[in-house]
Symmetry: C2
């Protein structure tokens, strides 16, 4: 490391300080969602705004920009530590490029937008939300112009969430995926159901669910010496430091799988976090690389492992020790029950087969909006038409249509595609892991997930942000991002 | 407020920022003791050191000193907001007076001291700890010289924990208290025991204890919309903001009163915190005024309320609904069982009658050390001799003698007396409250503690730090700090 320029060491110290602040903010956030008494909320908002101001002030200083320029001229992309410079540059430009007036206006409008969206959804009236959405779209177009792009302005927004992602590439993948998903969905519907919808309904005391979830999470590889599970209204996973990763889930006393799959999903995020190179914590390279890669890990443990026949071969008898109700359910019925698929209006309730159709709908609308092909006022009509095409369903009202998600109300355009990238990446990664290790399925049936976890540790987690997401997937699987592995997985499982 | 000088407004802004940092540190600390996974400890220490450095840097700036001087010349002690200036001055002088070399050396030695003390206690060998203690005493004498004092150097250390406290005044109060406590203790021992030591031993599931403690804490007046209870190895109460106060306790599955009295004690601290003037949070005047006043509130709810006959008149039948074992215990036996008194070596296990004797022992030794009347090497002999005098007990080894407390290992000289001040203040405050409100005992027997709480809110909590502790007690009770009320309370309860 001795030949690294002095400016690099200054950035290193800045990055460590910044990360101390960011991790402290993360604790304030985690505590607010899990432990904080209700009356603490106003003061907590002040604390978080204060720290986030400190983070911003620390990073956007002119000298930080100078240090980055010095590193760019004194280091080369072949250097081991170059990815830090690459990401400092990206983050710095994103943090400093926008005119202050635009940042302020965007913050104000999106703060109002959330409340207006909630009211519009409550009243199922898109007209209430439309003026705010128009303004947010307009400001986001201005942001995209400031950030810059090669082909289309939407690309500049996508990169807020997924480095290197391009709308054109995504559209190409989605164009192949879409008709196949519609077809698989149709075949499932035609085939009919195997067991009653409510065979899993029963009595599942929360303390038993907690104990069972803890056993499962530990067995799949989540490290409780460096993490924990709590309850939250909206489950999430939060990394609070290099050895401190916290999952949350929520409980339904009549159905144990919702908390369990919540834990498996968040434990997937959590094991990624626990597998990041801790010695590089505080550097860009030590961070998770993108939402699409993060989501690949959560989907992998939730769907590929957690809904597999092999998983339940091992866990159904154990679950029955916690929940006697399950003793009368056969393995076949259990596997079927946790792998139902049917079309619906609501994204967050969608299953593995239909989920990506919901994402494509949003992606296509966002892309059309930012290509000036779709006006905000025309969103509801367009939305409902596409739901009809994809699912053969009539959207009953906008609350169950284009008002169902919070993302747009906060100006988060370009976020949705990362969910589907997660699904595609998960299928490609697990396929590659199984190709190299054909024993994986047999191990899962014995409760042993160590081969999968070790493979992900080596190929994904330990890389941190060394490579951008596209390159990471290619290095790990030998292929670029593609829908083939995912479609094969769905056909194998559902048909 | 318009006539307040500009410098005051600058201090106000500085104070609010400082408090945001201090409260964030408090969350980091609370989380570490209650929730943090074990491997998070090293990084957490870095976060806390970072924030505490930021707090220090913010406060010790030269301009802060100038603002305080400006306020001192432009405001007068008659101004409503003067106590803020008074406390900023005190804190600023304490934070800036010490030579940097002394601060650094003290930090290093006390960091080592804690580990050395733990080893010495483990091996019951004072010789291991003595060299560190000598050094800590020497450095503390230097600190006292820097802080300055009128009569004796120990006074300068006392004021780190109790503003306005003087060793001479304390000695005067303790001199009267000591023989009386010895006498009361002797009478109790001579009288013999009423019921077997283990009548309360039974089966008390932790979740039932949690539910019972929650019911009691809520009923006495702790506000769970602005607070919560968790488990910690060493119980404490922590204020994390103006509407966020967190208690902790620990559980023994064979005896429910240890967690209950822990909760009552911490809820006493917590209700004080919840009663502070929230609109002044961030100003010195909005803070709790001292450890001795804080401890008065915890002792009041733990001992005066929680160990009273009236309290158990209401709560024993309710406790029996949680713990069937208690149904066979009479009110008389219950009250006797929670008010046992017998001499012991260990301060933290001592009862209401003998506790202050342990404190006086420490106070007298500390005073002698700082008056150069006692050498560190002679502490064990002196300690054991005094325990013999007070309790008629032979200290078996230094681990159960002068090595039992952690305080000295961290250089905390002058802390112990605040525990006894808490006991004396509690007795004086409750006596004054009952004199004005003779219905209090009857209300407690009906589970209603609102009159006590409202009285404390008005006379103690809402005052924040407007008056120094001595003046607060005099305003609330009409008397200076004195042992008469406490001795009357002990005689009424035990004899």
């Amino acid at each position: 490391m001795s030949e690294l320029p002095e400016a690099y060491h200054k950035l290193l110290a800045m990055g460590e300080e910044l990360t101390l602040l960011v991790d402290t903010s993360a604790l304030l956030g985690w505590d607010q969602e899990t432990k904080m008494p209700s009356k603490g909320v106003a003061y907590r908002a002040k604390q978080m705004a204060y720290l986030s101001g400190k983070e911003h002030d620390l990073f956007v200083r002119a000298e930080v920009g100078e240090w980055i320029s010095e590193c760019e001229s004194e280091m080369s992309p072949a250097d081991e530590m170059w990815p830090n410079v690459r990401d400092w540059r990206f983050d710095y430009d994103r943090a400093t490029t926008l005119p202050t007036a635009l940042v302020t206006e965007f913050q104000e409008i999106s703060a109002l937008g959330k409340a207006t969206w909630a009211e519009a959804r409550e009243k199922a009236d898109f007209g209430i939300f439309a003026p705010h959405l128009e303004k947010l779209v307009e400001l986001s177009k201005e942001k995209a112009e400031s950030f810059g792009y090669e082909k289309c302005s939407y690309d500049a927004l996508l990169e807020n969430f997924e480095r290197g992602a391009r709308a054109g590439d995504l559209a190409e993948v989605f164009t192949k995926l879409r008709p196949e998903l519609v077809e698989i969905g149709k075949e499932i519907t035609d085939r009919g159901t195997r067991v009653s919808d409510d065979i899993l309904q029963g009595d599942y005391p929360i303390d038993k669910q907690e104990a069972f979830n803890q056993e499962v999470a530990e067995k799949v590889g989540f490290n409780f010496e460096a993490g924990r599970i709590d309850t939250a209204v909206h489950p999430f996973c939060s990394g609070l430091g290099p050895r401190d990763t916290r999952l949350t889930t929520r409980y339904d006393e009549k159905e144990f799988t919702s908390s369990l799959f919540g834990v498996l999903h968040e434990a997937g995020h959590g094991m990624y976090d626990q597998g990041l190179p801790g010695e590089l914590h505080g550097l860009p390279i030590g961070r998770a690389v993108s939402l699409g890669i993060h989501e690949s890990q959560s989907r992998l443990w939730e769907n590929h492992v957690g809904r597999s026949r092999e998983f339940w071969q091992y866990w159904l008898p154990r679950a029955a020790q916690y929940f006697p109700h399950l003793a009368s359910i056969s393995l076949d019925d259990m596997v079927f029950a946790v792998n139902r698929s049917s079309p619906s209006y609501i994204r967050v309730e969608a299953d593995e087969v239909t989920y990506d159709l919901h994402i494509m709908l949003r992606f296509e609308l966002e892309r059309a909006i930012f290509d000036d092909q779709l006006a905000v006022k025309d969103i509801p009509g367009e939305w409902n038409e596409r739901v009809r095409e994809m699912f053969g369903l009539e959207v009953p009202d906008d609350a169950r249509g284009c008002l169902q998600d919070i993302h747009w109300s906060m100006g988060m355009f370009g976020y949705f595609p990362t969910y589907s990238l997660g699904n595609l990446n998960a299928s490609q990664l697990i396929a590659a892991a199984k190709k190299e290790n054909p024993q994986i399925d047999g191990q899962i049936a014995e409760g042993d997930c160590s081969t999968i976890l070790n493979w992900m540790r080596e190929k994904v987690h330990s890389a941190g942000s060394r490579w951008l997401p596209g390159e990471l997937i290619e290095r790990a699987t030998g292929e670029t991002t593609d829908s083939a592995a995912h479609l094969k997985h769905l056909r194998d499982r559902y048909l």
